[in-house]
């Protein structure tokens, strides 16, 4: 009896040591999970996920505090990638966070801009250029389409316009006649 207990305890201790040693010795180098999640998120910094930016949301996902379906700008593609990374089932986009729409950029109606700088303070990526009492303009290449500049504008002179489809950024679509889809009822 005692011998058995002793042997088992010793074995447990030995294996514990081996495991402990190997976890240090063979530590998997790589991005911490938060960085990996953050890399998948679209970085619009829009806060539609209820977190103040993409990285906070990534941290929340990594800590298991938030589900993976709260990012409307990323949409289905982002959810699939997150599910793949984290080894969980993909979810439908949570409608409470918003709907997936095509990429947009903000456009300032320069006639009506009064130069109040409020939108500049709201922009999460410093994509608005201007100074007090000067007309502002948006650097459209840098704009992430987060909508955050819309609410602060006192004269409603900012519009979100869909990113223009041009021959240079046009994409071929997947052929429609796909055999693996069931026949419509």
């Amino acid at each position: 009896m005692i011998t058995a207990l002793l042997i088992l305890s010793i074995l447990a201790a030995v294996f514990g040591l081996i495991l402990g040693y190997s976890s240090i010795r063979f530590k998997v180098e790589g991005d911490p999970i938060v960085d990996q999640i953050d890399a998948i998120l679209p970085q619009t910094q829009c806060g539609q996920c209820t977190y103040p930016g993409c990285r906070p949301y990534a941290t929340a996902i990594a800590n298991g505090e938030a589900p993976i379906n709260q990012c409307p700008p990323g949409g289905e593609a982002t959810i699939l990638q997150l599910a793949d990374l984290l080894g969980v089932e993909p979810l439908e986009l949570n409608p409470e966070n918003g709907e997936e729409s095509g990429p947009t950029v903000a456009l300032i109606d320069e006639e009506n801009c009064i130069g109040c700088t409020l939108c500049i303070q709201a922009c999460p990526v410093d994509a608005i250029f201007g100074a007090a009492k000067q007309m502002h303009t948006i650097i459209s290449d840098e704009c992430t389409g987060c909508d955050l500049c819309l609410p602060p504008c006192p004269v409603d002179c900012i519009d979100m316009v869909p990113v223009k489809s041009e021959t240079t950024n046009w994409k071929w679509s997947m052929p429609v006649s796909n055999d693996s889809t069931p026949k419509a009822k």
Binding site: Q43, Q45, P124, D126, S165, W170, K171, W172
Partner: protein, 550 residues
């Protein structure tokens, strides 16, 4: 002489070339309106030089090549710029792009010839390259890569073999064939210029064996001018032997390294029509404003080759070829294997437009795709030695990483795999979908990385500003506290009576502040400002009264 090799895969296709080669190249009529897209080549859009309402002359540069990869655009005929706007262009997307519309005046008045009027043999390479560049010449074989840049990109004297591509392997197309038959002498002159620019050690013109007349006429032209450093090579007809890498493999037996250029193995390819354009630019001082277009197919009445001004609406060309037959079902720009179908026939002819292929209704009917049975026919015919069915598998399931592992980007979209697929799967479209999707994702990733950086920078900036403010505040507080302690010390030491009086004064002041709160910043005002304030007060009073009244 050359020991011919062969490339793996490919297809022997029915040529259908005879239907458009029975008559000589016909000049197309001058249309009333020419719509010239600015983007007719791979690379950047050139810079616009004209304005609305400008009078332009034939051959006048209307858009100048920018730095980097770009090509100039010239007015194909004289007339007035009647519009500069977005027009539908010949592109698989059917989208619009910036075009210059010229209302022709019918005078065909050429612009002033440029200064250089000497024998090209006395010109320096740079001068010749400038002429080619200024003439807006692009590769006319289909890729429309700016020719001057291609010629410049290789190190001087590293080109062993200059290959002039006259293979024209796609069925139906015969524009290069006709050009070689009728203008072999000019082509040879153009080739000699290219030879000089590249200092190529050997030069060959490669033609498929289904064009005996073209071969004969080239050989005659070489004989007549007693040129012995250019050879004409006949190669077996096999699609896609006209593809640059396939052609090099057939002629030299060498494989261009993947992700590499032919120049890496000392070879440069130019299309015969490109060589002809070079001749026109150097000898005649004419920029690339026209090209030979094959109007052919099974649904056109009088198929033929036309010399067409860039910007000519396609329907006018169709009309000149006798119009459609009754069973017209579709129009393709390019050949049946690699061309793209057009949404309508009012689009302008561009530098890339080598063929307008009309299709009968029966051929345009879509055969529904069945499941892939992995028969492997596609892999047998793939000239890039890929595994098309696995690429299809991964492209359709959007597993793009795996598709790239299987060399998706080495696919030349020749269409052989789709053509032999017994399940009629539009394989090429799957690859195009995957490629454009991967490019878009790549772009997206770059953009989001950029956004992340900017956001992090902003956060850091805000944090820094806050820290600076806090620090300043702290210092100020410390200073004040110090002062206070000093003052208190002094007061306590000097005059206890005065402190009592001051406390009383402060109480009075506080009482006063509570009763009438005065706006800040009203001290030290100029009389005008005070007056304005008075006026404003008055207005406020009136407004308040009014509000009360209503």
């Amino acid at each position: 002489m050359f020991q011919l090799s062969h490339f793996k895969g490919g297809l022997v296709l029915d040529g259908h070339k005879k239907i458009s080669t029975s008559s000589a190249i016909k000049p197309a009529i001058l249309p009333a309106r020419l719509t010239v897209p600015l983007q007719q080549h791979i690379g950047h859009t050139p810079e616009l030089l004209v304005q609305l309402g400008d009078q332009v002359l034939k051959g006048q540069c209307i858009a100048k090549a920018t730095d980097g990869i770009s090509a100039s655009i010239h007015a194909p005929s004289s007339g007035r710029v009647s519009a500069i706007d977005e027009q539908a262009v010949a592109h698989p997307s059917g989208l619009k792009a910036l075009c210059v519309t010229i209302e022709t005046d019918g005078k065909e008045q050429w612009c002033e010839p440029s200064a250089l009027k000497q024998n090209y043999r006395d010109s320096s390479n740079q001068q010749l390259l400038n002429i080619i560049s200024d003439a807006g010449i692009v590769g006319l074989g289909g890729a429309t890569f700016p020719t001057a840049i291609k010629l410049q990109s290789c190190e001087p004297a590293t080109i062993n073999t200059l290959i002039i591509n006259g293979a024209e392997c796609e069925p139906y197309i015969s524009c290069d064939d006709m050009l070689m038959r009728e203008r072999a002498k000019d082509i040879v002159l153009g080739i000699q210029i290219l030879q000089q620019v590249l200092a190529a050690k050997q030069t060959v013109i490669v033609v498929e064996d289904n064009k005996p007349q073209a071969i004969q006429s080239l050989q005659q032209a070489l004989q007549k001018q007693a040129i012995d450093n250019i050879d004409v090579i006949t190669i077996p007809t096999r699609y896609p032997t006209g593809g640059e890498k396939q052609l090099i493999k057939v002629v030299t037996g060498k494989e261009v390294p993947a992700n590499g250029l032919p120049a890496d193995i000392g070879i440069l390819c130019q299309n015969v029509a490109t060589a002809y354009s070079v001749y026109r630019a150097v000898y005649l001082d004419q920029p690339l404003i026209s090209r030979i277009v094959t109007v052919t197919g099974d649904a056109i009445n009088e198929p033929a080759n036309f010399e067409v001004l860039i910007g000519t609406p396609m329907n006018e060309l169709i009309a000149q070829a006798g119009g459609y037959t009754a069973n017209i079902g579709g129009l393709v720009m390019g050949g049946p294997m690699m061309g793209f179908s057009l949404p309508n026939d009012t689009l302008p002819v561009t530098k890339a437009c080598n063929c307008l292929l009309t299709r009968v209704t029966e051929d345009t009917r879509q055969i529904p795709a069945q499941a892939c049975i992995r028969c492997g026919e596609c892999a047998e015919v793939c000239p890039a030695n890929l595994l098309p069915q696995q690429l299809y598998w991964y492209s359709s399931s959007k597993n793009f990483d795996r598709a790239q592992d299987l060399h998706l980007f080495d696919c030349i979209e020749c269409g052989c795999c789709s053509a032999v697929c017994p399940s009629h799967i539009p394989l090429v479209q799957y690859y195009r979908f995957a490629k454009t999707e991967i490019w878009a994702q790549e772009k997206e990733r770059k953009k989001s990385d950029n956004a992340r950086q900017r956001h992090e920078f902003r956060e850091a900036r805000i944090a820094r500003e806050k820290a600076e403010r806090d620090e300043k505040l702290r210092l100020k507080k410390e200073l004040l506290a110090k002062k206070k302690i000093e003052e208190e010390g002094q007061q306590a030491a000097v005059d206890p009576k005065k402190a009592v009086i001051e406390a009383a004064l402060a109480r009075v002041k506080a009482k006063k502040d509570n009763t009438t709160e005065k706006p800040k910043n009203t001290d030290n005002l100029t009389p005008q400002q005070q007056q304005k304030i008075a006026e404003a007060d008055q207005r406020r009073q009136q407004k308040d009264n009014k509000d009360e009244a209503t």
